[in-house]
Symmetry: C2
Subunit: 406 residues, 2 copies
């Protein structure tokens, strides 16, 4: 363990310190589940209220034009592009991460019809694997899902692979995959690559075009602080936009959605991957979160997240088994620890005002969201965690009661 840092000095020197006040924060709570649902930006509460009362309430259906609801998926997508190393015309907001993954996976498999394999990794975020199963079941034709990790994954990238689908930051360990190397490796074998950025967007300095990425999806409700079930986004590199076709060929992806033609004609550009009418209230909240992330900048957010992670890990020391990479360059925005009683430990911590979360089996996760958190808070949370573990204060039936979602 290193010498104790001067927390006040760290917070005083934090270039993102001013963002803390941009969030609503319940008193006496240190919220370390921003990796699951980010906190509420004050401006988003106002933005949603304005959309409800002034836009929907007053403008009604004219809001699609007068408040440019119709432009929101491309506008907010263009902003997210600035956080992930993409061009503004390569990203749109649409649907859920799951649905976006399906759209891009089907499009990619259809673009490589002679290759039967979709490759992913066991233990990657489950809905990604489920959606790939569903996409393969829809497409048929002898296609199959193969799962491999580490060296076996690299060895599995053969000429049979149509598409490699991987999470960038792992939802459990926070480990970050080498996007540039794996993309190059798969492309050299003639495959396309689809990255799930859900656990990294807003907390990692992702550089999709710097990695020559093909396709990506990501979620709005974690480090983008877009609200519960915020709409998701998708990225299609310019070079693929003219050829890939969305299976969910809805009117919002039509070249002339309001001409009401019988035949589908895909819109130019990434817009063809839009589907139905977007949920505007949720999209308004997402835009509030994205605006804050853009103002902070992805590089500054990533630097602070790394520093918060290092601080947390350092203070926990040997009290728990670290499941995350110790090297912050290989780690996303959360840190994970293993303990057989992890569930009870998380519940006990919650009772003391520190909100982390639990994942079966035995993993506790702490999201170190760079905009709303201070160094002092993160240190205090780590110290409380150590105290709970060492004192065995978690060893109480009250902390073992399960609920549906944690």
């Amino acid at each position: 363990m290193s010498p104790r840092p001067d927390l006040a000095a760290l917070d005083a020197a934090d270039p993102l310190a001013r963002f803390r006040d941009a969030f609503e924060r319940p008193r006496e709570m240190i919220y370390l589940a921003g990796n699951s649902l980010g906190p509420l930006p004050k401006a988003s509460a106002e933005r949603v209220a304005r959309m409800v009362r002034d836009e929907w309430g007053e403008s009604l259906v004219r809001g699609w034009n007068s408040h440019d609801w119709i432009g929101a998926p491309a506008r907010v997508g263009g902003k997210i592009a600035g956080l992930i190393g993409a061009r503004p015309d390569e990203v749109i907001v649409a649907d859920s991460t799951s649905a976006n993954l399906y759209k891009l996976a089907v499009a990619a498999m259809q673009a490589r019809p002679d290759r039967p394999v979709v490759l992913s990794a066991p233990g990657d975020f489950p809905t990604d694997l489920y959606m790939l199963e569903g996409a393969i079941r829809t497409l048929g034709g002898g296609r199959r899902l193969a799962l491999a990790e580490g060296e076996a994954l690299e060895a599995a990238i053969t000429g049979e692979v149509a598409l490699l689908v991987l999470c960038h930051a792992h939802y459990r360990s926070g480990a970050v995959r080498d996007m540039a190397a794996l993309t190059a490796r798969a492309q050299a074998a003639g495959a396309l690559v689809l990255w799930d950025l859900s656990h990294g967007t807003g907390v990692l300095d992702v550089d999709l075009n710097g990695c020559n990425a093909d396709l990506a999806v990501g979620c709005g409700y974690k480090y983008l602080n877009g609200g519960p079930g915020a709409p998701a986004f998708l990225f299609v590199a310019r070079r693929h936009q003219g050829t890939l076709l969305s299976p969910l060929a809805g009117w919002f992806g039509h070249a002339r959605p309001f001409a009401f033609e019988d035949r589908y004609d895909p819109a130019a550009g990434v817009a063809r991957f839009a589907c139905g009418t977007p949920p505007m209230l949720s999209l308004a909240a997402l835009e509030g979160g994205v605006d804050l992330a853009l103002e902070a900048g992805a590089a500054a957010a990533a630097a602070k997240a790394r520093a918060l992670g290092d601080l947390f890990i350092d203070r926990v020391g040997d009290a728990l088994i670290l499941e995350s990479p110790a090297d912050s360059a290989r780690r996303g925005g959360h840190v994970a620890f293993h303990h057989p009683d992890a569930f009870a430990i998380v519940q006990c911590l919650i009772s003391r005002g520190v909100i982390g979360d639990y994942r079966e089996p035995g993993t506790m996760r702490f999201g170190l969201s760079p905009l709303p958190l201070s160094f002092a808070e993160v240190a205090r949370a780590a110290d409380l965690l150590v105290e709970v573990v060492r004192s065995r204060a978690y060893d109480d039936p009250a902390f073992r009661q399960r609920s549906k979602v944690t």
Copy 2:
């Protein structure tokens, strides 16, 4: 034209009159576009504000349990079931109408693998046809989309048809198809039937189980007054829930979504047709609209909508060509008229405070939403329309300027 009715007496006798005050209404405006985006229920504004500030802001990720966000898709779906003649466990809220149509169409086609045809009608709501194109392009296997109308449609229901997909109330004319007869006809030929209820839910007394319906989808932002881009719903009859599989096999449709298993295992019941995390702010607004519709009751809403339509048509008389069925038993919640200058007429009416909408080519539509509207308002709007047409006040370049969405 019948003798002029006593409008004050009609409004005084209206059992739904009290619902008018449940909606925010901009002054000096008669809003007849509830068929496109329903007005804002006052309670929904409060409900969304509460979800943002108290639930997201205060409970954060714990809201999935403590405010039962996790139960919202089934809860709100169960309420919508009460408006469409379904059982509560046959309906969930999820995604967009387009995405839901894709899910059910693919599931149905896979359940009838030896039948190559999906049958629909030319001029049905375009996104439905686009999604069917996309579903067929994904499934392949020689499947094709056939379009036919009227007697040709009935003749096209052969042993080759896997699925018949039809809009219940037509988005343009408001004409309502005979759900019971067409369902029986298709089922007799061994096909499944998927109804799009978007232009009828909340304004027609739909009876899915009374018609032995198989599958249905519908939208939340029209007569359910659920807000711009409100989440949609889908219906799967109990007898199909164990066998049909969603292609969008997301974690919210998994039997154990929070066990984080690698393999997809579909949930029991209609829940398997959920996909990703639902957009909770938009879902909260939808629930507000649905609660009002349930309180009013589908039968009462349908009766008033028919009476409003008859009143409007009667007052317009021969000033315009009626595109809707004159018989209210065969008509949905809006009335449509044809005029070569329909676009300019609608714009001119808007300048006088009556909001209707326009659909290419030459169709003007007026949505007679039964909860927010009075008989007096509807009569005044019809009289203004007649005055604009007869005076040719619309014949002005200012009323011919086009915008993106109308």
